[in-house]
């Protein structure tokens, strides 16, 4: 497989496999320098990642994160975009898979069944953006305190918070 790829250029066999499995109209792709990017609808993301992992050799989930595009100039797609950065450890290829989700109640299938390491990454995305992951074994906040109610990396959350940082009892010298 390595030799084939060296002749045909990077990502050739990946694209071939994906086209064979999904056909036209499911995903779109673009390249930037050596990286390949996919846009996939949320309904197909789980099986798309499964094909990338099992048939294209992208065995490592390197990064999982999200972006809030609220108020982004000339933005027409979904408000949130979750991205998965995958790596093929044999050919050292990278691919980035992006999937959009929208208000209200943004929900995606969890990829913990594919990669156990996605556990904390999905918890962080949930903590910061409020995107839920169906099938996650333990979807709790990971960075903010348990009693925190907002999702602080959403663009409509004020930078200085809504008074959370002031909400503590005051200890005076008389009583401590």
């Amino acid at each position: 497989m390595n030799q084939e790829q060296a002749v045909a250029g990077p990502h050739e066999s990946t694209l071939k496999t994906l086209a064979k499995v999904f056909g036209d109209g499911v995903f779109s792709h673009a390249t930037f320098r050596a990286n390949l990017r996919f846009h996939v609808p949320a309904s197909r993301i789980f099986e798309f990642l499964a094909v990338l992992k099992d048939q294209c050799g992208f065995s490592m989930l390197s990064e999982l994160g999200a972006t809030d595009y609220l108020g982004y100039p000339e933005w027409t797609r979904d408000r949130f975009e979750v991205h998965y950065v995958l790596r093929n450890l044999d050919t050292t290829e990278w691919v980035v898979v992006k999937v959009g989700v929208n208000d209200p109640d943004p929900t995606l299938p969890s990829v913990v069944p594919h990669w156990l390491g996605a556990d904390w990454m999905e918890r962080e995305v949930f903590d910061m953006y409020g995107i839920k992951f169906d099938g996650h074994p333990d979807l709790r906040r990971i960075l903010m305190p348990e009693e925190f109610v907002a999702f602080p990396l959403r663009k409509d959350y004020p930078l200085r918070g809504r008074g959370e940082r002031h909400n503590f009892p005051r200890l005076t010298r008389g009583e401590s």
Binding site: P158, L159, R160, G161, R162, G163, R170, T172, R173
Partner: protein, 233 residues
């Protein structure tokens, strides 16, 4: 007996065994090598030269704090080198670094666990004011929630500044002393004021010196600091 000098003054010489000679009522003559003082003063003297710091180091200020404890700057010269990592064994809390809102209950709990008498130093810009971290997650000055004796400016402060703060605190302890409690008279007014405002809801101004704060803790040039709230549904 060391009474020779005193007896020359011709006053009434009391007894023989005590070593004290009384000249007249209200005018006490003291033998040589004897110091008369108050018990409070002695206690304060002992306390100020045996501070045991509790290093609450959350950020880069902690590195400077370690340098102060090490041989080059040598906090031991001022009797405060015994860093203990249990609040039960400490009487000086040095908060070095920014305190996140998740950390604040921990800080308060550690403060409450320290036995009296106790003092605190807010070290660096972040602990004192929040510093550059003006975000939802960082407490804007720990003195809003625990009492602070000495503030150290700097980002991070030089080790010499920390030594200066220890010296200032020692002066404060010597002035304030009482056997029971911290007894810092210059804090009484402020304590009373804080007590009076304790029932205010969180986020409202707590003292006149910071009275122009709004709900988010800042007075913005354009009016009340409702930054971003107009964009929130």
């Amino acid at each position: 007996m060391a009474l020779g000098a005193n007896q020359g003054a011709g006053g009434f010489a009391a007894g023989t065994g005590s070593g004290v000679s009384l000249k007249s009522a209200g005018n006490l003559e003291i033998p040589e090598n004897t110091i008369v003082t108050t018990l409070d003063s002695v206690v304060s003297y002992c306390r100020k030269y045996s501070l045991w710091p509790m290093p609450f180091a959350t950020a880069c200020c902690g590195i400077e704090l370690m340098a102060v404890g090490a041989s080059r700057f040598d906090l031991a010269r001022f009797g405060a080198e015994v860093m203990r990592f249990s609040p039960r064994q400490c009487d000086l809390m040095i908060v070095a670094g920014r305190v996140a809102m998740k950390m604040m209950p921990v800080l308060q709990r550690i403060w409450l666990q320290m036995p009296e008498p106790k003092w605190s130093i807010s070290m660096g810009a972040c602990a004192s004011t929040g510093g550059i971290f003006d975000t939802y997650a960082v407490v804007q000055g720990i003195d809003r929630f625990i009492p602070i004796d000495v503030y150290i400016p700097g980002c991070p402060p030089r080790p010499e500044q920390i030594l200066r703060a220890i010296l200032d605190l020692q002066a404060k302890i010597q002035k304030g002393g009482a056997i029971a409690g911290t007894g810092l008279p210059e804090l009484f007014d402020r304590e009373k004021e804080l007590q009076a405002k304790r029932d205010l809801p969180a986020g409202f101004p707590l003292s006149t010196e910071r009275g122009d704060e709004d709900r988010f803790g800042y007075r913005l040039p354009g009016g009340p600091g409702l930054l971003g709230s107009n964009e929130t549904n």
